[in-house]
């Protein structure tokens, strides 16, 4: 098997005396859909900020797409895509302008932006909306567009931070189909969510409690290990215990 997409070894971040992330050690394989769960304040955001090269680790290290996050954050950023819970697109720009912006930022040529952007809009059924301001299109479409835009430079890994927040169940399902398609093409998907049904869709999940990784495995493994029927129950047990 080829080199993993993400390798973290003892990844730690302290803010003063407070240990936000405590010695995370895990690997994510290429093309895997990896669910990164945890209650608010468990250290998820800090961990993601380190993995995306925004925050230097206090100790330990991590390699993302072959680049060390502490030593080569620039290299990491060129190889990853990112979409956050808060809206990633500019509402006062049109659909096409947003696509052009991200293509440009990620260093695509004008021809690449035209070709990939056109294909992207076509596949999302957004071609007729190309000249519409993003603020004016429905939320579900916006989220799908944001996801596609985060993939426009064909990153090795895409980080999705609660991508389905506030989205209706049908769009959520369609969104997860897009995630599977992406993973099937070999792109690693690192996703955080508060929806436990979504956690069940992941290849493997991890659950963070108080800065530590309290559980790591496939949804089936975790349910078996804790003798419960759903990931939701696993989550509640671990979060309470913490």
């Amino acid at each position: 098997m080829s080199e993993p997409a993400i390798v973290a070894e003892g990844l730690t971040r302290r803010f003063g005396d407070f240990v936000a992330v405590d010695a995370l050690t895990f690997e994510v394989a290429r093309g895997e859909v990896f669910g990164f769960l945890g209650a608010n304040g468990a250290g998820k955001t800090t961990a993601i900020r380190m993995l995306t090269g925004l925050l230097a680790p206090s100790a330990g290290h991590a390699t993302v797409a072959g680049h060390d996050v502490g030593r080569d954050p620039e290299g990491v950023r060129r190889r990853i895509g990112y979409m956050s819970q808060r809206f990633s697109l500019y509402e006062d720009l049109t659909v096409r302008e947003n696509v052009e912006l991200y293509g440009g930022i990620y260093g695509l040529s004008d021809a690449e932006i035209r070709d990939r952007g056109g294909a992207l809009l076509e596949s999302l059924g957004l071609t007729p909306w190309a000249r519409t301001l993003v603020g004016a299109i429905p939320l579900g479409r916006k989220q799908k567009l944001a996801f596609s835009v985060a993939l426009i430079h064909r990153p090795a890994i895409v980080f999705l931070d609660e991508p389905t927040g506030g989205v209706d169940p049908i769009t959520r399902r369609q969104f997860w189909e897009m995630i599977y398609e992406t993973a099937a093409r070999g792109t690693t998907v690192f996703v955080t969510t508060h929806y436990m049904d979504e956690a069940e869709y992941c290849d493997r999940i991890s659950i963070m409690v108080d800065g530590r990784m309290a559980a790591l495995g496939t949804p089936a493994e975790l349910k078996r290990a804790h003798g419960v029927a759903s990931v939701d129950d696993v989550f509640v047990r671990l979060a309470r215990a913490g």
Binding site: L54, Y82, S84, R86, L89, E100, L101, Y106
Partner: protein, 368 residues
């Protein structure tokens, strides 16, 4: 590749600006309105000018001169005195704005066909009103002169004196300050708002995890506003020139270059404010306090620095606008070049460099 990323980012910023029609309109019209408003406010202030007439030897001739002032309705005679020292207390108590001091030999001088002497003393503790009042009084004297025997006589010789602020040149002093204000508003305020908006909406995060480097984000934010700021400076100048006939004696290229320098300093200040502000509203308030107040009050734009108390005078040294205003006045009103303005220019360069470094660092520190 790097160039392409920056280009894409600048294009985005331009799109933001163009999309936001309301703000853009306000920004483009602001200098126009400000110049007209400030310019006219100066005139409206001086409807009712209180004048004291000092006439040591009254005659029918001097009575006509006095009546010329009464007839304008703009002047209102508060005292008729025989000697200047009688008027002095009125000035000190702020009960008179202008004193018309007629020479004791006024009537005889006119009769002999010599220029008849008149002294005009104006209270210029508010320099702008002062010079306007003086201009009105001079106009009345000019009209009176023309009525004297069809203008064939030598007429009258007016001496003017400004009290409290004798070096005052004219209301023209005000326009360079206005340019500084407009440049600061557009650059510092708008940059602070637009950067903190990205922070607030979370889009900044997206930019930060992209290959764009922090300095590219800052440059991308700043470039469109440089253009907008300079366009505004040009509008201000044009209105000042066309409507208020403010002279422009020096090099336009030099003024443009200095404006660019000053704009950079303001932009850096805007970035610095945005980096420290937690929300758009905080950034806006912060920018207003940090730029507007010193810019209007401590820059010499309205209140002459020379008449400030010593501690305040010291404080004005850290206000970039103070230096820019000296430069702009020098270029516009005196027509001097860099050879006379290099000290101020160096100070501005130093401030700009300092602010830019601080802004980029602070921006770095806040996101890491």
């Amino acid at each position: 590749m790097r160039g392409g990323a920056l280009r894409a980012f600048v294009v985005k910023e331009l799109q933001h600006i163009v999309r936001d029609r309301q703000t853009l309109t306000v920004l483009l019209l602001m200098p126009l309105v400000q110049v007209l408003l400030f310019g006219n406010a100066l005139r409206n202030d001086v409807r009712d000018i209180r004048i004291a007439v000092v006439d040591p030897s009254p005659s029918a001739v001097t009575q006509r001169l006095r009546d010329a002032f009464v007839a304008t309705r703009r002047f209102h005679i508060v005292a008729d005195a025989r000697a200047m020292d009688q008027v002095e207390p009125l000035f000190r108590r702020g009960e008179a704005d202008v004193a018309l001091v007629i020479d004791p030999a006024f009537t005889e001088q006119l009769g002999r066909g010599e220029p008849a002497r008149v002294l005009l003393v104006t209270d210029a503790s508010d320099p702008n009103t002062g010079s306007t009042m003086e201009a009105y009084a001079l106009a009345v004297l000019g009209d009176y002169e023309r009525t004297l025997r069809g203008g064939s006589a030598p007429g009258i010789a007016v001496q003017t004196r400004m009290r409290f602020n004798p070096t005052l040149e004219s209301v023209n002093l005000f326009i360079p300050g206005l340019i500084a204000l407009v440049l600061t508003l557009v650059s510092a305020l708008m940059t602070a708002i637009s950067l903190s908006r990205e922070k607030e909406r979370g889009t900044l995060e997206i930019l930060l995890v992209s290959p764009l480097r922090p300095w590219q984000i800052i440059v991308g934010k700043v470039v469109p506003y440089i253009a907008l700021g300079l366009a505004n400076a040009a509008t201000t100048l044009a209105v000042a020139w066309v409507v208020f006939h403010v002279p422009f004696r020096g090099s336009a290229a030099l003024l443009l270059a200095e404006s660019l320098l000053y704009t950079l300093a303001s932009l850096a200040l805007g970035v610095l404010i945005a980096a420290n502000a937690s929300s758009q509203r905080a950034a806006m308030l912060g920018a207003l306090v940090v730029t507007m107040l010193p810019n209007t009050l401590l820059s010499g734009m309205i209140f002459p620095i020379a008449s400030m108390p010593a501690p305040l005078r010291l404080v004005t040294n850290v206000v970039p606008a103070r230096w820019f205003i000296v430069i702009a006045r020098g270029i516009m009103l005196k027509g001097v070049g860099l050879e006379h303005l290099w000290v101020e220019t160096l100070v501005l360069v130093g401030m700009t460099a300092l602010l830019l470094v601080a802004a980029v660092r602070r921006f770095h520190a806040r996101i890491a």
